[in-house]
Point group: C2
Chain length 253, copies 2
DNA sequence: CGCACTGTTGATCCAGCTCAACTTAAGTGG
DNA sequence: CCACTTAAGTTGAGCTGGATCAACAGTGCG
């Protein structure tokens, strides 16, 4: 609770710069290591730090903190958000294991959003200046980071379309499919998973009211597209979920 | 009209790799050169190519073209857009002189969107593989590109908030202010300019109906926030324009 | 075991969409 | 250079998807 106490605990129990071993990490095939050859991996490991896990609700960083590092998610889940001038929250993204968070803020030297843990989560910290230096020597690493950011931009463009053109059902369906795909990528079940975020966060992210999201979950369930119990979700009819908005009116028994 | 004829014209009249001289370019202070020292500028100029200008409606590239280059806008204006599975267009961005377009597609080796000229426009082509090589040797260039992409991500996050939380007036006001700021950055008038894009494109970009955008222009004009005549716009009350959505109901005579 | 958070459901309302008619501007060919 | 076509923009009227307000049901943490 007390900041200085937290600091002591962190530095006392878990050395801040504990050695990171990507080879022993199950995320190896989906995370940063895929960008570098095995003999260069140790160089990457050298600059990475692993901190103590974050508890639900704890911040990884806050908007206006100075930008120093990007982070690879090891476990758990995080959300990024920012506040408008009027003070209301906009959830801007969700981050699952194997994904990189914190790439905003490179240009301003300050983070432009805040990131907090949705559940107990741990991350590998990658000091960005070190990463830039390393990228000078490892072309594939430089390329990988350009590609990562490019993919982030692409995803944002897709979201742009979702928010500007698609109805509420589509948006929710899209999110479910996105989470599903990201699970599958890690070798987990694509059809059965637990959502790490609340209905509130989903609604906020998708530009909808909580009530609307809730109703849509219910409707999807009634139409046997999914089975949902709280945050536990099972995808029953992936095809139909992809086509929500296409066959808008479910004229089925 | 005939592709091969166009090709001849291009290569005949204007060599594809015509030397680019950033020092003689008025965009020098807002474009790429700001990333490199003057003695390294020639290296950058070396890899850039200037093609023939694009006419209104011509494509710079199309979605699924192989990704080879990014482009710095020299003059005119461009829009990027993509098509949904149902075939309708989503305008994803507008690009003005001094700005870089084409940074999607790095990860896939194919462009994920199309870019076409809104009016006669010219660009400097920057082959991306060459740029990566150069970035290996010029840290500030590498950093600048990371920063550029980071800023793109930031802008997308802001747009996310705009689309998910803000009312139609806010969205239009925001766009006008954005165009204004980008004009100012180039040393042009911040308060008086010509919009390069149609009402249709504005509406599409902001996730609104054309009619709504048109009505809002009219309303802004009635309330003396702007003076608008077709695409010609003058900002009369910048403060009020920033606060649209704050003082929603204009209880004024 | 109680208080606060998270989620669901119902009823009502309104911002912005759709449809429609019309005006103005911009090409285009004779 | 003007008549004609087509695209771009504006205005009006009415409809609707999703927001808002409200009440209630789990759920879980301290």
């Amino acid at each position: 609770m007390n900041p200085s106490l937290t600091l002591v605990t962190r530095q006392g129990n878990l050395p801040v710069s504990q050695h990171v071993s990507c080879n022993e990490c199950s995320l190896n095939p989906v995370c940063l290591p895929l960008a570098v050859s095995s003999d260069q991996l140790s160089e990457l490991e050298q600059i990475m730090k692993r901190g103590r896990p974050l508890k639900r609700g704890e911040h990884l960083y806050r908007a206006s903190d100075t930008f120093e590092s990007v982070y690879a998610v090891r476990s758990g889940a995080l959300k990024s958000y920012s506040l408008s001038e009027e003070g209301d929250e906009q959830v801007t993204g969700f981050y699952l294991p194997g994904e990189i968070v914190g790439m905003d803020g490179i240009s301003t030297a300050h983070h432009m959003s805040s990131v907090k843990a949705l559940e107990t989560a741990s991350v590998c910290e990658i000091p960005f200046d070190k990463l830039e230096q390393l990228s000078q020597r490892i072309p594939s690493l430089q390329h990988h980071f350009f590609a990562l950011m490019s993919r982030e931009i692409q995803a944002d463009r897709e979201l742009h379309m979702l928010l500007s053109k698609k109805a509420a059902d589509d948006r929710v369906a899209h999110l479910l499919l996105s989470i599903s795909a990201r699970h599958q990528r890690r070798g987990l079940s694509a059809s059965s998973f637990r959502l790490p975020m609340s209905r509130y966060d989903i609604a906020n992210y998708l530009g909808l009211a909580v009530e609307t999201v809730s109703r849509i979950f219910t409707r999807f369930q009634q139409n046997s597209l999914i089975r949902a119990e709280g945050r536990e979700v099972e995808i029953l009819d992936r095809g139909a979920l992809c086509n929500v908005g296409r066959a808008e009116t479910q004229r089925r028994a």
